[in-house]
């Protein structure tokens, strides 16, 4: 009498063997994949090259943005309102009133005229706006016809003074009267991009001309990616077509 065999039937053994081989092959594949993944991770971590994709290259505008000039609508010599609404999309030079007697304002007019001539020579059509507390007809007569001469608004002046104190730290220590005779460079979006004391030295005139050139070319955009390599400045004003910018 033969004892019943403990071996499984031949078919089942074959099936088990197949499953074993499949599991073994799968395990090997997983181990290999893991190995490759780990090697890649180690390579990335140890690589001298950043494991982040290439960084975006920014070209920043060299002119800081000191803040947004408070909106204004002041009256010109004809009593017509004029302000930020009419100046939108255009860079301009804004002369604040100060406490100057008429003789002092004459000096500023002379310096501003010099700035305007130099900008015109470079075909940079910036607007000139003079805010004054002198009689408008007197200042208008002594100013070039292309300038807009406007009567001061005290409440607006206070806001501008606050912006200058807060936004231009280098000049925050100066007295209000000194700050309020400043010449401002305003970009196409109404951003304050430069503050100058034209009465102090002729170098302030040079700085204003250089910065105005920059604002005209760069526009209000603070920084830009995607410029050609080593491009010197931000191009922010828009496209150039047959009729100029549009």
């Amino acid at each position: 009498m033969s004892l019943p065999s403990s071996r499984p039937p031949r078919g089942i053994a074959w099936l088990r063997s197949c499953v074993g081989w499949c599991l073994g092959a799968s395990s090997l594949a997983v181990v290999l994949t893991l190995g490759v993944a780990m090697l890649s991770a180690v390579k990335l971590v140890l690589s001298e090259v950043s494991w982040l994709p290439a960084d975006t290259s920014w070209v920043s505008s060299p002119l800081p943005l000191h803040g947004q000039l408070p909106r204004f609508e002041l009256q010109d010599a004809d009593g017509a309102p004029f302000g930020t609404r009419q100046l939108r999309g255009r860079a301009y030079v804004l002369q604040l009133p100060g406490d100057e007697p008429p003789s002092g304002s004459h000096a500023i007019v002379t310096r501003l005229s010099s700035v305007e001539r130099r900008l015109e020579a470079e075909r940079l059509p910036l607007r000139f706006v003079v805010v004054t507390r002198q009689p408008l007809d007197v200042v208008s007569t002594s100013s070039p016809a292309s300038w807009k001469v406007l009567a001061e608004d005290v409440a607006w002046g206070v806001k501008v003074l606050a912006l200058l104190r807060e936004g231009v730290p280098a000049r925050s220590g100066e007295g209000g009267s000194s700050l309020m005779r400043s010449t401002l460079l305003v970009d196409q979006a109404g951003g304050l991009r430069g503050v100058y004391d034209l009465t102090s030295s002729t170098r302030a005139v040079d700085a204003l001309v250089a910065d105005a050139r920059q604002v005209f070319e760069s526009g209000p955009v603070p920084a830009l990616a995607g410029l050609p390599m080593a491009h010197p400045h931000v191009l922010g004003v828009g496209c150039v077509g047959e009729r100029g910018r549009h």
């Binding site: 994949t33 196409q188 979006a189 209000p220 955009v221 603070p222 995607g226 004003v237 496209c239 549009h246």
Partner: protein
């Protein structure tokens, strides 16, 4: 071979398989984390240029559309007008390409185009513009509104140029000028980049990378 030895061998095999399985699971979990941490690092490195402006305009269907409709989403904005014969068709084509690539990559991004000629660009004209160019407006809104509101939004909010030559008539569309940049905004409503996408610049590729990072960082 006696039974306990066979059992021990089988046990070791199952333990080995379990270890491999756990490792595979860990790797599967770690890869998305790795991708997310890369995205977070990249997103953190992007500059900040101020807040998305508040605005109330209309989309191409005539429905009100405000900055609130964009909150919580990564947004790409551009500035165009339908009568523009030069750069705007190119900008629109680039935006459509970016939208297609974002969709294929499974990135949830919103697109907005602000008309810089809003008096002419009525919602109907914007809808016709979208229709003619087969634009997918499911996540792309073309916006118009009062000139004052658009100027405030584009100039003071986005700090992108828009304007018209002095004394130009309403029909003189060649006198309109505007910035040709794409602007990237994150889910927190912060402007994170300005990209030049025309000509052969690599701005579009940079924008793709950065918006992908912002989307993954927000996940």
């Amino acid at each position: 071979m006696d039974a306990p030895v066979v059992e021990r061998a089988r046990g070791r095999r199952w333990v080995g398989l379990l270890v491999v399985g756990v490792l595979a699971l860990l790797a599967a979990l770690a890869l998305p984390l790795l991708r997310e941490s890369r995205a977070r690092l990249r997103a953190r490195g992007l500059p900040e240029f101020g807040a998305l402006p508040t605005f109330r305009l209309m989309d191409q269907t005539g429905r009100p559309f405000s900055d609130a409709d964009l909150r919580g989403a990564v947004v790409v904005a551009d500035f165009m007008f339908t009568r523009c014969p030069t750069v705007c068709p190119l900008l629109t084509a680039k935006m459509a390409r970016l939208q297609r690539q974002a969709r294929e990559a499974g990135l949830a991004v919103r697109f907005v185009s602000f008309s810089v000629d809003p008096r002419y660009d009525t919602p109907e004209r914007l809808a016709a513009y979208a229709d003619t160019r087969h634009l997918d407006t499911s996540n792309w809104a073309l916006l118009t509104g009062e000139l004052e509101d658009v100027e405030t939004t584009v100039l003071e909010g986005f700090r992108v140029m828009m304007g018209r030559e002095a004394d130009a008539g309403e029909d003189d569309f060649l006198s309109i000028f505007h910035g040709e940049h794409f602007v990237l905004v994150d889910t927190e409503g912060r402007i994170r980049g300005y990209y030049r996408v025309v000509d052969d610049s690599d701005g579009l590729e940079s924008l793709q990378r950065d918006l992908e990072a912002l989307v993954h960082a927000a996940d």
